[in-house]
């Protein structure tokens, strides 16, 4: 039993690594090659999950509207695969490459090679590591500011706050910088605990942490959880402890599941801010299209986020992200990288 029982543990570790790395990806071309039309390769680090699915739906719809041939490479979280995908896209001879997420270290060589081959590159939510690449990002600092303005207004700038944060994720780091500023400006906002963990089961593990922190700090009146999985976990914690009347949660991002959580009766999650993932996907395709056709384009494109309060969401009666842009027209930003 002794020797045999240790082997499985090692195997389990190896297997989880395998599971994370996923399988090799291949491009799924959405249109036949046609010499007149613009060919764009979309090279993604991740493709599964609500956000990435909606993002892709928006990108594909925009590609169809513009008559673009969009080939999608999805590395499923395998960074080495994403680097290979970039090389494949260059070999394919596309007119522009859109890089969606990833790490600078892995995408930079491919991005530079593409630019050297006169293929323009737009990079969404990743520092491509080459000044010639056009960057697109949602404005995380605006996003955090919108939500924190609500928090400060609701609490008159005086509250004990639990903060959910994990360092090392670029958007969370940018949101963290805003939180640091807000704390400095409002000395009566006291951060009594910091929680957070990021894995496949973030929401339920953050819920367990938030429950411990809420128990240890009974005077907390606000939780700042600037990532929707954190906010969902915090919501679960407040509900399981029955503290809906005393604790309010300020989150970030939005998904269909989030809308259900926010608008539920007596939900403590009172405000979030977000960009529409399908709109962001569309902006990325438009930017790649403009870059491919040598049109004028800013070097750094920012997609402004929208504040979505619980009251506004309830009033609008929306239940899915697809319905959001109808109720909150400011979520669509056709004027960012506009193409008629």
């Amino acid at each position: 039993m002794t020797a045999r029982s240790l082997l499985p543990l090692a195997a389990a570790a190896a297997a989880s690594a395998l599971l994370l790395s996923g399988c090799a990806s291949s491009p799924a071309a959405s249109g036949a090659g046609n010499d007149d039309s613009v060919d764009i390769a979309l090279v993604r680090q991740l493709g599964s999950g609500d956000y990435f699915e909606l993002w892709l739906a928006g990108a594909e719809a925009e590609a169809e509207r513009l008559g673009v041939n969009l080939s999608v490479y999805n590395a499923n979280g395998d960074d080495a695969q994403q680097a290979l995908d970039l090389e494949s896209a260059i070999n394919e001879g596309v007119d522009a490459i859109a890089v969606d997420h990833g790490f600078t270290e892995t995408v930079q060589p491919g991005v530079t090679a593409a630019l050297d081959a006169d293929i323009p590159v737009v990079a969404f939510d990743v520092d491509a590591g080459d000044d010639r690449a056009i960057t697109i990002a949602q404005s995380d600092s605006d996003l955090a500011s919108l939500v924190l303005d609500e928090l400060v207004a609701d609490t008159d700038g005086e509250a004990q706050v639990i903060y959910a944060y994990v360092a090392g994720f670029a958007p969370l780091d940018r949101r963290n910088a805003v939180w640091e500023d807000v704390k400095a400006e409002n000395p009566d906002l006291e951060q009594v605990a910091q929680i957070g963990v990021v894995n496949e089961s973030t929401a339920s593990e953050v819920a367990n942490q938030a429950k411990a922190a809420l128990q240890a700090n009974p005077d907390v009146t606000a939780i700042f959880a600037p990532y929707d999985e954190f906010a969902k976990g915090a919501t679960l914690a407040v509900q399981e402890l029955g503290l809906e009347d005393s604790v309010r949660i300020y989150g970030a991002d939005i998904s269909t599941a989030d809308i259900e959580v926010i608008t539920a009766d007596s939900s403590p999650w009172v405000a979030t801010a977000a960009t529409d993932p399908s709109n962001v996907g569309a902006v990325t395709v438009r930017a790649a299209y403009l870059a491919a056709t040598d049109a004028d384009l800013e070097q750094a494109i920012e997609v402004p986020p929208t504040l979505l309060t619980q009251d506004a969401l309830r009033e609008a009666g929306v239940s899915t992200v697809e319905e959001l842009s109808g109720a909150f027209p400011e979520l669509s930003t056709p004027d960012v990288a506009p193409v008629d």
Partner: protein
């Protein structure tokens, strides 16, 4: 027996329980909120699902097998139960039955792969791990399931009913339902493994399959049963997880593989069992829960929590496996 031997034996048997007790006393004295009844329930609720799934791991470990697909089963069952309710508008009890059946079926597939196809257990369950991690994504094309999601281009007809949510969030006499289930299943599995004939057959197959075969045990049948039981317990965990989250979170079950294996392995060291046992597994899960809860109250950041959790596991493994603590046992 010399004094040193006696001391070693005491550490071997009670070391982990004493450490757990010491931790509880330490946290309770430094954090007034830790020792409350409410917080005890918070800790138990946090570990209940892990503990139940870990009981399944314990059973497959008992027959000398290893089930890598356990996390995928949890994920798959989360999706089956939520898809059944949200996309197909089925009532909660049907969804629960479908979920349990799915877990038992995957367990059966694992068992048949190991026994009939003679694929080594790690490889067979590695295969099914991928298959069902993928399968969990197929019905929804990779999206999470929540009420109001679109299905075939139209809004999904159903929602996750209050009866179903009660399984994950409700309580009886103040005790959360998952905690009650953990206690009931913990007692059942412990007693079955240690005191019943089927339990002894499982252990016999695990320790020496050849001897078990020669004494007339249907080794293959026992192994298949163990995998079915393991898959079913994982599916109970999946149902509870779906009910707690209130939505079908893709790959929500993935972390459960390592968490539950850790709990079961820590359990080896409880009371000097040095083998998979139900009581030890529950203690292992609770131990991790106490650590996370107490450390969070102390504002210890997550990266320290992982480190300390790992150190605990290493310590428990030394207790179970090191020659220092191994007496001549028959």
């Amino acid at each position: 027996m010399t004094v040193a031997d006696r001391a070693r034996d005491l550490v071997y048997r009670y070391g982990l329980l004493v450490l757990l007790l010491a931790l509880i006393v330490f946290f309770a004295s430094t954090e007034p909120a830790f020792g409350t009844v409410r917080n005890v329930l918070v800790v138990l609720q946090a570990v209940a699902i892990t503990a139940i799934v870990a009981l399944g791991v314990t059973i497959s470990l008992t027959v000398g097998g290893f089930d890598l697909s356990i996390g995928s089963i949890v994920s798959f069952v989360v999706m089956v139960t939520t898809v059944a309710q949200v996309y197909f508008g089925l009532p909660a009890w049907v969804a629960v039955l479908l979920g349990l059946a799915a877990g038992a079926l995957i367990g059966l597939i694992n068992g048949l792969l190991v026994v009939l196809a003679r694929v080594p257990d790690l490889l067979a369950t590695l295969g099914t791990m991928f298959v069902f991690a993928g399968f969990a994504l197929v019905p929804t094309a990779g999206q999470s399931v929540a009420a109001g999601a679109t299905f075939n281009g139209e809004p999904a007809p159903g929602r996750i009913g209050p009866d179903f949510l009660w399984l994950g969030r409700g309580s009886v006499l103040g005790v959360p339902v998952p905690v009650l289930l953990m206690i009931v299943l913990g007692v059942v599995v412990s007693v079955l493994l240690a005191r019943s004939r089927p339990g002894r057959l499982l252990a016999a197959v695990g320790s020496n399959p050849e001897a078990a075969r020669l004494s007339g045990v249907h080794v293959g049948r026992v192994k298949v049963l163990a995998y079915v039981a393991s898959g079913t317990l994982a599916s109970v965990g999946g149902v509870l997880l779906a009910a707690r989250l209130g939505r079908g979170d893709v790959s929500a079950g993935s972390p459960y593989l390592v968490e539950t294996v850790a709990a079961a392995l820590i359990g080896f060291a409880v009371l000097g069992a040095n083998r998979p046992n139900g009581f030890g597994t529950i203690v292992g899960a609770v131990f991790v829960g106490v650590l996370i809860n107490g450390l969070t109250m102390q504002n210890v950041p997550y990266y320290w929590q992982d480190l300390i959790k790992g150190a605990l596991l290493v310590g428990a493994l030394i207790l179970s496996f090191s020659a220092i603590f191994r007496k001549d046992r028959t």
